[in-house]
Assembly symmetry: C2
Homo-oligomer: 454 residues x 2
């Protein structure tokens, strides 16, 4: 029997197993659910063993456990590490779910339940493909390591020290993440870049306490106005960041990059309708998609000063604060961008106030696959075969800290090879996973493992 035939034959069982897996409320954000996260880890370890993996073990971190397993019987072949996560987002508000989030239900060819798409369906796919190959051929053409974690949905706070302390256990030649998206059920994509992140706060101080605007207006500087002037000095009204040196380390888009992005269909009106923004906006000289994917940003996240209640309070506020984040692209560094902004604010603070810039939590290095990256090329070939068309080459404006953790400690750019879609209510009520794509993903992972050994 071919491994593809095995997948077809076993699909009803696999779907039933996914139902069992999704039924475990492994919500990492809720302390009361920690036993469920551990139960999910145990389930994953047992499932790996059943699939034919060896050394399946649940390992502790400072927080939620991780699960590791391997199959290392392909001498002279490369070793591939497959990543995913078995924890899920909270399911609240429960009353918005059509069927209960932890009583998975199949309707319309989809499995509905919290974590079905993110990432329980996704991380089960490579295990099932692995099983099909091992059970039908008795062997694999490549060495495989599995590495699944239990705190991705809270930002993997304990993962960096775990990875740093276990580089031998995790060491591989390539990494594929089973947590990832495709463009649509019919169109594959390869995500080549993620943005980095730096978060900071600008704090402008004036008088020692709120002052009467009649007694002191015109006499002393106003921190709220000064903050507005500082913000305006950071960015032009047409969207260019005006901090000296901000763009210095940005790797320019090549013509090939721009052509690849331009080939992807894009509906400006639909984008505006989705966000509700009243008009197009952004850095001159780039398409919106180029800006969203490959240009750094500087955004205000919040403003606080003085009187915020109803009506009027005629004060000169004691201080004014702005929370800001920058999304960074290769080869910008969070630390260097922070230093540039701090220096800019020091140079542009208006007279009569003091201005200070502090780092806030939230940091990630930008991530960009090297051009000609071997694992990416393999992934693209497999996706082209399985989908019958070449994948879009895309990037994401967000940050995935685990990708930079793996790069930092294992020296490898992970390739996202996952089969979720952004319409599947990943962090919302009524999350679902497409069962036909569940099956297609298994074929894709099977072919990937075959090709890795070729």
């Amino acid at each position: 029997m071919t491994w593809e035939a095995y997948l077809d034959r076993e699909q009803p069982r696999f779907i039933k197993e996914l139902v069992d897996f999704v039924a475990i409320p492994s919500v990492s954000a809720i302390p009361a659910n920690i036993p469920d996260v551990v139960r999910a880890a145990d389930w994953v370890a047992a499932r790996l063993t059943a699939a034919g993996a060896e050394h399946a073990q649940v390992l502790p971190t400072a927080g939620h456990p991780v699960v590791c397993a391997d199959w290392l019987h392909a001498p002279d072949a490369p070793t591939v590490l497959i990543y995913g996560h078995f924890d899920v987002q909270p399911a609240e508000p429960f009353d918005l779910w059509t069927s209960p989030p932890f009583q998975p239900e199949i309707r319309e060819g989809r499995l509905w339940g919290r974590g079905a798409s993110d990432d329980k369906g996704g991380m089960l796919i490579p295990i099932l493909a692995f099983e099909a190959l091992v059970k039908t051929t008795g062997r694999l053409p490549v060495n495989v390591k599995f590495f699944f974690e239990g705190q991705e949905e809270i930002g993997s706070p304990d993962l960096p020290p775990f990875v740093a302390a276990n580089t031998d256990l995790l060491k591989a030649d390539m990494i594929f993440s089973a947590d990832g998206l495709q463009w649509s059920p019919d169109v594959p994509m390869v995500v080549e870049g993620l943005k980095g992140l730096v978060s900071l706060e600008i704090i402008v101080k004036g008088p020692r306490s709120d002052q009467h605007s009649g007694l002191h207006g015109g006499g002393i500087a106003n921190p709220g106005m000064a903050l507005g002037q500082i913000l305006a000095s950071l960015k032009s009204v047409d969207g260019l960041v005006t901090v000296a040196g901000f763009y210095d380390d940005v790797r320019p888009l090549t013509e090939a990059d721009r052509e690849a992005i331009a080939r992807i269909p894009y509906d400006e009106a639909a984008y505006l309708a989705e966000t509700g923004a009243p008009a197009p906006f952004g850095e001159p000289g780039y398409t919106r998609r180029e800006r969203l994917w490959a240009r750094p940003t500087l955004d205000v996240n919040g403003l606080t000063s003085g009187w915020q209640g109803a009506g009027t309070k005629t004060v000169l506020p004691v201080e004014a604060k702005a929370k800001i984040n920058c999304r960074l692209v290769a080869d910008q560094s969070p630390e260097r961008v922070f230093d540039l902004i701090a220096a800019h604010v020091a140079a542009h603070a208006p007279p009569g106030v003091t201005a200070e810039v502090t780092r806030n939590p939230g940091r990630a290095d930008p991530f960009l696959l090297p051009s000609g990256h071997n694992a990416t090329g393999l992934a693209a070939q497999v996706l082209t075969e399985v989908y019958g068309r070449a994948p879009y080459r895309t990037r994401l404006g967000g940050s995935i800290p685990v990708m930079t953790t793996l790069l930092e400690h294992l020296g490898l750019h992970a390739v996202m090879f996952g089969f979720s879609h952004d319409d599947e209510n990943l962090h919302a009520p009524n999350e679902f996973f497409r069962l036909d794509v569940f099956r297609k993903g298994q074929t894709a992972y099977g072919r990937l493992l075959e090709r890795l050994g070729a």
Copy 2:
């Protein structure tokens, strides 16, 4: 007996009466104290009758009552209206008072208690001077009307309709306010101007809800940043308001005005130390005192946008708001300044957002005594005699709505002729009134009444 001798003889009784008056907790801001405000009104009406005034009556408004009385037996002499208020600020926090706020105590030649200075001591002074003249001479050289209100400390919301409906009752040739300050116990002043006020809010809107700064940063405009840019367009970093037309209606300071202001001693370091402001600041071309007293201002009172809690939330906020007030000088109009700012914001809103400007509560016309104003000249002469030196000609940066109400409905610029000082903890714990100044004020009002009839 001269009226001055009468004042000397009766001073112990007058002080005892002030103690009784201050003991009434007539806090207008606290609904539970409304019966006390009414009790204070009754006390005032009885005291006016005892002093020799006629037609003393407690009259209702939509809120707290007012008290009116008169003495109109000087045919062919002018009529003077004397204003003051018998309500007081809340006394909280009680534990910061050395002696209880409504159990007045005399220490160090001062009477300590809530309202002793603002304005019970102040409004009792003209009643006592009136009594001394009537009791010793049997008559007055001038017609007098008394008009005391019970809601000054909450902004006199019901006074404008009362005054509008009672112009015959209140009609006079001059108005003096017994609610007012002197420069120091040794140096008198005449307040020639008050600033007006207009309050507004700028509301900048972008997407229909908070958006992920990774998914949409660079794709749509940021309301927080746009608000900063709008604020920066309103005012230069050196303090000049850059709204077109803002200064058009400002009456320029004359050389005489500037010389009068420059004659008043001023300590820049003490001013900075008082406010805690880190450095001098303000509109170029004017001294700080000129700016505080006679130049219009535009100040941020508060800012609100997006995430204001601890740490980081990487959102593009749905909106950003700034509360703003302008302190206005003659002959600016709150309505015209609002329109100018609204037009400026409409013209300067950056692309990609909408910006709206709304009026907030808080409105006052600027107030400036006409040069050569008769009542002011009389007040200055009396103060010069009583203090042995000419008064400073000053202005205030704040607004006193009742002054503009009296001007609007009675057509008269009231002259502030009061004897409090700004160190007397007027709205703070441990309010006090200087008893020697209480006595000096009685002499000043007696001489004023004499001179008005001359």
